[in-house]
């Protein structure tokens, strides 16, 4: 019985940790998406200097926020976001509006996909 109780306690702790990490992922990705939207509006206004500065900030923010994500999420997905962010930064630096907006849209979807994939939903369950 003691073994069952210990395992149950560990399981409850892991489940609680799972819910907590889902919450962290949701809030962190919401912030990142908000920053991306800000950059998108700067690009729309052709304020490239500011957009580039914000993109660099976003890159640092990503490193800080997503540092522990590979422990839980597919490493390939994390790498893809990192590569997409690097591409986006170069498009902004080159002031290429079409490519920057296209890449930003992809990046937005990729980041939003993370909490969606981890969310407790019927779609994910099946």
């Amino acid at each position: 019985m003691r073994l069952l109780l210990v395992l149950l306690a560990v399981f409850i702790a892991v489940t609680a940790l799972g819910f907590w990490t889902n919450h962290l992922l949701e809030s962190a990705t919401a912030e990142l998406v908000h920053d991306l939207d800000g950059i998108a509006s700067q690009i729309k206004q052709q304020d490239w200097e500011y957009a580039l500065a914000k993109t660099r900030e976003l890159e640092k923010d990503w490193e800080k926020k997503a540092g522990w994500w590979p422990a839980l999420l597919d490493h390939q997905e994390m790498d893809n976001i990192k590569f997409a962010l690097a591409r986006f930064k170069e498009y902004v630096a080159a002031r290429d509006s079409a490519l920057a907006r296209g890449q930003l849209s992809e990046l937005r979807e990729m980041i939003m996909h993370i909490p969606e994939k981890e969310a407790l939903s019927l779609k994910n369950l099946f």
Binding site: L4, L7, L8, V14, A71, D74
Partner: protein, 226 residues
């Protein structure tokens, strides 16, 4: 590559720990749900082991869940007869009072050839010698031969027998089991003095030594020492 080695070691030890927690029954005959858990465990451990892109947690959490499920099901089956019937199934009588229960064989899709094969493997070539044959929940066939066909035992012949306990192991490969010596109120000095009678002066030279319930010491010396 180093990552692969480390991940393999972590998962290996976790699965071994899991199997140890599941108990000794795993090693022998498995219940259907235990078999499912073993198959799932091996698959779950293999994926993060070979693919370093998959987080280790993706393997660890399902393994922990399976261990919990196994322990919970085992406790439930232990405490409730009804739950045991649902989880493990119930034994099926295939031969009762020497008569094959055809309906049971059909229900279990167990053909007569399988039954005969199992009986032969238990040294019962003639089905007519069987009083009861029971298919256990683990798939193991238990056979009870007719009383006329079972081996004679001392009770049948009204013979009195003396107590036969279990010999106590005292030394294995030079290692002295002091706990066993204490249990039978003997000491290492006694063991040494007994072995000296056979011109043995070092316990490390003994491959195996045991003491039976009649107090007879059995020992064998290591080949290099002999």
């Amino acid at each position: 590559m180093i990552l692969g080695i480390l991940r393999t070691l972590i998962l290996f030890f976790l699965v071994v720990l899991g199997l140890r927690l599941m108990g000794k029954r795993q090693v022998g005959q498995l219940q259907p749900y235990e078999l499912v858990i073993i198959i799932m465990l091996s698959a779950l451990a293999a994926i993060p082991m070979q693919n370093t892109g998959v987080p280790l947690v993706s393997g660890l959490v399902p393994i922990l869940t399976l261990i919990l499920v196994h322990v919970a099901l085992s406790y439930t089956a232990l405490k409730s007869e009804r739950a045991r019937g649902i989880i493990c199934g119930t034994p099926s009588v295939l031969i009762e009072n020497g008569k094959i229960i055809e309906s049971e064989l059909t229900r279990l899709r167990y053909n007569i050839n399988d039954l005969l094969e199992q009986l032969r493997s238990k040294n019962i070539p003639n089905i007519a010698d069987v009083e009861y044959a029971i298919l256990e929940t683990s798939g193991h066939l238990s056979v009870i031969p007719k009383s006329q066909k079972r081996p004679v035992n001392p009770e049948d012949l009204n013979l009195s027998t003396k107590y036969e306990g279990l010999p106590v192991t005292l030394i294995i490969d030079g290692y002295v089991f002091r706990k066993n010596l204490d249990r039978i109120n003997l000491s290492e000095d006694w063991l040494m003095s007994e072995l000296r009678k056979y011109n043995l002066h070092n316990l490390k030279d003994v491959l195996f030594a045991s003491l039976d319930t009649e107090g007879k010491l059995f020992f064998q010396v290591k080949s290099r020492a002999g």
